[in-house]
């Protein structure tokens, strides 16, 4: 087994920290990280002892010419420029969950990675969830009869004060697009941050989106992007669906990082499946424990999970790079999900059902 020499870029994406465990992964040699300006004190760099940290990608590349792969862990707007450089250098890429909302830019990503002959895998960790796999199997086994409807909810506490780019339309959606006429809000909020449930519906049903209708509710926060949003429609196999990708767990007033995971949970993912013979009610991200022993005595929820295992998507990435396998979700496979998310924004804009 030959470890892959890898670097993390920018590290200010919400998922960036989940790649810090590469430091313990025998399949990788984490060579260095670059840090987005302004984020040095906000992204837990102390969890990477002994790993060189640079203020720019250029500096990182200059000091580590032997790097073979990068994790593009930056704000959405920056993905394209970092991918261009990575492709020029022939580096394999682990992409964040939203490569780009600009479909021309997205197609350029497909083009340059394929021409460079590098692996570009998109992180969609919900596909690795044992609970999601169980729901998929139950549907396939006909546990609730013929499936009629699927619903999925992905709530999170973002945007948090220590990651301000997430509520800036340009950084999140890539540009400033008014969410609809007369609204003082812009694309780039909760919808832009939650592709997982759009992907998971395709994954567990084996179907694709036929129509989409979306509506925004009044915000719970004073931000200029949407934070509450509902999406419904039909799949090509006749099932209805309902998705709720909202920033519904409001932590924006929390000022202490150490105690920000409050009730109910910082992140929630639930799924329900309705069939002709019954329903499945599933909490697919439910592993949390609760305590009130923190500094302020507040009731806090902390996610827990199996120990001793590392990030599974990086296991797949390793075999793609070393053994020539194809990622389950690459840029081409993920393109449809991004299209549907854009259609949801178009539905909010027009107030009508969008046929896909």
């Amino acid at each position: 087994m030959k470890p892959i020499k890898i670097a993390l870029l920018s590290c200010n994406h919400g998922h960036g920290k989940s790649y810090y465990d590469l430091i313990n992964n025998p399949f990788y040699e984490l060579k260095a990280v670059s840090v987005e300006p302004g984020y040095k004190d906000k992204i837990f760099l102390e969890k990477l002892p002994g790993i060189p940290k640079y203020d720019s990608d250029e500096e990182l590349y200059a000091n580590h010419p032997d790097i073979e792969a990068v994790v593009v862990a930056s704000a959405n707007r920056k993905h394209i420029s970092q991918m261009r450089v990575a492709c020029e250098k022939g580096l394999h890429i682990m992409s964040m969950k939203v490569p780009s909302f600009d479909m021309d830019e997205y197609d350029e990503m497909i083009d340059i990675t394929e021409k460079a002959g590098v692996v570009c895998q998109v992180e969609l960790e919900m596909r690795e969830s044992a609970e999601v796999l169980r729901v998929k199997e139950l549907i396939e086994q006909g546990a609730v009869g013929k499936p009629l409807s699927i619903t999925a909810l992905n709530y999170s506490h973002n945007p948090v004060w220590w990651r301000p780019w997430q509520c800036l339309p340009e950084d999140s959606y890539g540009k400033r697009v008014r969410i609809r006429t007369g609204e003082e809000r812009f694309r780039g909020g909760a919808l832009s941050d939650h592709p997982h449930i759009f992907d998971v519906v395709r994954f567990v049903t084996g179907s694709d989106y036929e129509s989409v209708f979306a509506e925004i509710a009044p915000n719970i926060r004073d931000i200029e992007t949407e934070d509450l949003l509902h999406v419904i429609g039909k799949l090509k196999n006749g099932m209805t669906y309902s998705l709720d990708p909202s920033y519904a767990n409001d932590e924006h007033r929390v000022v202490r990082m150490y105690n920000w995971q409050k009730y109910p949970r910082c992140v929630e993912v639930t799924m329900n499946v309705v069939g002709t013979e019954g329903v499945i009610v599933a909490d697919v991200y439910g592993r949390a424990f609760y305590h009130n022993g923190g500094e302020t005595g507040e009731y806090s929820a902390l996610r827990c999970g199996p120990r001793g295992l590392w990030n599974k998507r990086m296991d797949e990435f390793y075999h793609c790079v070393r053994d020539g396998k194809k990622p389950t979700v690459g840029l081409r496979e993920h393109r449809r999900t991004i299209e549907v998310m854009n259609a949801a924004y178009d539905s909010v804009l027009t107030g009508s059902v969008i046929k896909l």
């Binding site: 609730v144 009869g145 013929k146 009629l148 409807s149 619903t151 909810l153 129509s211 209708f213 509506e215 925004i216 509710a217 009044p218 915000n219 719970i220 926060r221 509450l228 509902h230 419904i232 429609g233 039909k234 006749g238 099932m239 209805t240 669906y241 309902s242 709720d244 909202s246 519904a248 767990n249 409001d250 009730y263 109910p264 949970r265 639930t270 329900n272 309705v274 069939g275 002709t276 013979e277 019954g278 329903v279 009610v281 599933a282 909490d283 439910g286 949390a288 609760y290 929820a301 107030g351 009508s352 059902v353």
Partner: protein, 244 residues
């Protein structure tokens, strides 16, 4: 242990306990395609919106009334058994959403497949209800639901932390691997189901005139239009406005 077996028995008992004369009344349970139960009182047929007396919804209503923040949306899943119709479930869930959000439905977009219906309801005050409904559970199954109200100052939820299914007060692990469950809400109405207990409480409030019958009658008229709009929307797969 004295057990109460019917809504009428329960209402008569409560009136007796409160030393209120029992008026002439008739309780008409929902049947067939009817959308709700009725209480006939003083010759007036009053729709019984008994879920307004569900303890969790009452708690959530109290929360909204005391909350310094503004309501934004309510997210609902509600699954019941095959002996209920989508129209009946829509009627109840639209009413709960309107009651908690403090506004009536203005327009509805819905999609349906068999016994499942998904709808987004926009209220007159711009708040939104997201309804995920189904009537495909086996008969006798405990209906499952969640109502999560999101506001600018916190949230309220009828499912407590770490639960996505309805919890029971008493769980007996004895005769089968799955527990027998019991939820008894009111000792004076011991023996009644939670729903029937709420029906008695609602009827009692109407008899005592603590609840204005005209409010229920007006809500019923509107709710029928809202149900009609939702079904029409699901049929056309386009947004429909609720008749004023």
């Amino acid at each position: 242990m004295e057990k109460i077996n019917t809504v009428e028995e329960g209402l008569n008992k409560l009136l007796g306990m409160l030393e209120i004369p029992v008026p002439e009344y008739e309780f008409i349970p929902r049947s067939g395609n009817e959308l709700c139960d009725y209480l006939v009182l003083d010759g007036v047929r009053i729709p019984l919106l008994w879920w307004h007396y569900h303890e969790k919804f009452c708690g959530m209503k109290d929360f909204t009334e005391a909350n310094p923040g503004k309501n934004c949306c309510i997210n609902v899943y509600s699954f019941t058994s095959k002996d209920e119709s989508i129209s009946q479930l829509l009627y109840r869930e639209i009413d709960i959403a309107e009651w908690l959000l403090g506004s009536r439905a203005k327009k509805i977009t819905a999609f349906s497949a068999g016994g499942a219906l998904n709808a987004i309801v926009v209220m007159n005050n711009a708040t939104v209800a997201n309804l995920e409904l189904a009537v495909t559970m086996p008969e006798g199954a405990l209906p499952q639901c969640q109502h999560r109200l999101l506001t600018t100052n916190g949230m309220a939820n009828d499912r407590v932390v770490d639960t996505v299914t309805v919890q029971s007060a008493i769980n007996v692990f004895a005769r089968s691997p799955k527990p027998d469950v019991y939820t008894d809400l009111e000792s004076w109405l011991y023996g009644l189901t939670p729903d029937d207990t709420n029906k008695v409480e609602c009827a009692l409030a109407l008899v005592r005139k603590m609840e204005n019958k005209d409010d229920f009658i007006s809500a019923d008229k509107h709710l029928r239009k809202a149900v009609k709009a939702a079904l029409k929307s699901a049929d056309k797969e386009a947004t429909c406005t609720v008749e004023a």
